[in-house]
Amino acid sequence: MDEIDPRRLVQIHPERISHVSSTDYPGHWPGEDHTWDLAAFRNNLRLDIQRLTPSTLDFDLVGVDASIANALRRILIAEVETIAVEKVFIWQNTSVMQDEVLAARLGLVPLRIHPGRLESWVPDATATDANTISFQLQVSCTRRPNVSRDETDPSVLYENSAVYSSSMLWQPVGQQAALPDWLADPPAVAAPDIVLVKLRPGQEVHAELHCVKACGREHAKWSPVATATYRLMPHIRIVKPIPERLHATFMQAFSPGVIGRRRTEGKKAGEGEWEVYVKDPRKDTVSRNVFLHPELKDCVKLGRVRDHFLFTLESAGQMPPQALLPEAIAVLRRKIRVVSEALEELMHPTALEEEEEAGGKADAAEEGAMDVDA
């Protein structure tokens, strides 16, 4: 634990936090060279997968600045595109739920469709088979015959007393029916047991749903993650040995599993036979409870490692979690490339003018912008 460079630590005191910003840039430490170097960065960079389940991915990202980790988190939440229900054409709705409330619920149902299958929706576009997927929802509720008189459970008394998301069925449109991989893995809802609306005999819901591809910035229904979060790796350093009578108190002051107890090396029975040590700081929730005990608060130094991020991604069902991270990185590269290309055009507008044909009113506007100095 003690091999972490103290400059990498955010220090946690009983009432405040210090050393929050990173200091490894040129000019901060006199006489040291902190110019960013790709080779050094590559040696320090670590990405370790801790846990992968069908819905969740936990991984560690070590060696990047907080701005990169935050950018990845923001992009995972808001800028990775997925497909969700956008337009609901209601032919019949005699249920007790209003049309618009039902439509809002339908929009939030996660659809297990690979986003690469559609083109992104642009404002005021016409719906074509390249940018829209169509589902149909048609359920009506009827009374079941021959049910005992004292039965009260609606699922026994009535047929289709609740409309589940499994009733949303894909309707191939245009060229979509001819694609073999679409037919092999047809568009479907991610979870079949989501209750959409409850019905009683005589009530019916019949709607056509159009789904488009967009990103979370447009509406949260398009966000691919239940959420994406990160926390910094906690760091605990025992600076003074803890007396044996306080071992139990010390261990309980941290989350379970953080502090362990073992026999001291090189000491036999008697005073100092057992010692406490930091077993697994990752499990700590940094409650700072240890500072409540006056005799323990000078024995530890708490902190967090500034460039060690413990990410947790939980997918909402559209894509498996291991597919989310490469998408986020691709979106991030695209964003930087857009800025980079715009800068290129700004710096060398004449090169582009020669390559493009006449009709360069865009270039003329750029030249104008270059002349506008304060």
């Binding site: 110019t35 790709l38 800025v339």
Partner: protein, 126 residues
């Protein structure tokens, strides 16, 4: 009431240019760069990695108003490069960095798992 339609947060309008550079007359080797339709996601990254460039004396960003989708980046260099050149270098640095992260990610997963995530839907309509 004052909010823009959501797609305008990230789509450039007609005739809008993404980047505008205004040279600073009072401070040597300084410029103010206004980037449209981007937010803290990009701005904080650019500012953070620009600070690691030894030619940069000052780098900072702000989002003037949360309802307007734009940010302003102020850069001052020591004269060995212009602010726009330094910004270009920083963009290249960031792309190299992200590519390294992506490489590390690839090493962690088996090829089969990655393919499941990144499969191209060949034969997509249109």
């Amino acid at each position: 009431m004052n909010a823009l339609p959501r797609f305008e947060l990230f789509t450039l309008g007609d005739g809008e240019k993404m980047i505008e550079v205004v040279e600073d007359t009072k401070i040597p080797n300084a410029a103010t760069i206004r980037v449209l339709k981007q937010d803290h996601t990009l701005a904080n990254m650019i500012r953070g990695y620009m600070l690691k460039n030894p030619k940069v004396l000052f780098a900072g960003y702000k989002v003037p108003h949360p309802l307007e989708p734009a940010f302003i980046l102020k850069i001052q260099t020591d004269g060995s490069a212009t602010p726009v050149e330094v910004l270009q270098e920083t963009c290249n640095t960031l792309i190299a960095l992200i590519t390294k992260v992506k490489g590390k990610l690839g090493e962690q997963f088996t090829q089969k798992e990655l393919e499941v995530g990144l499969e191209e839907p060949f034969g997509a309509p249109g």
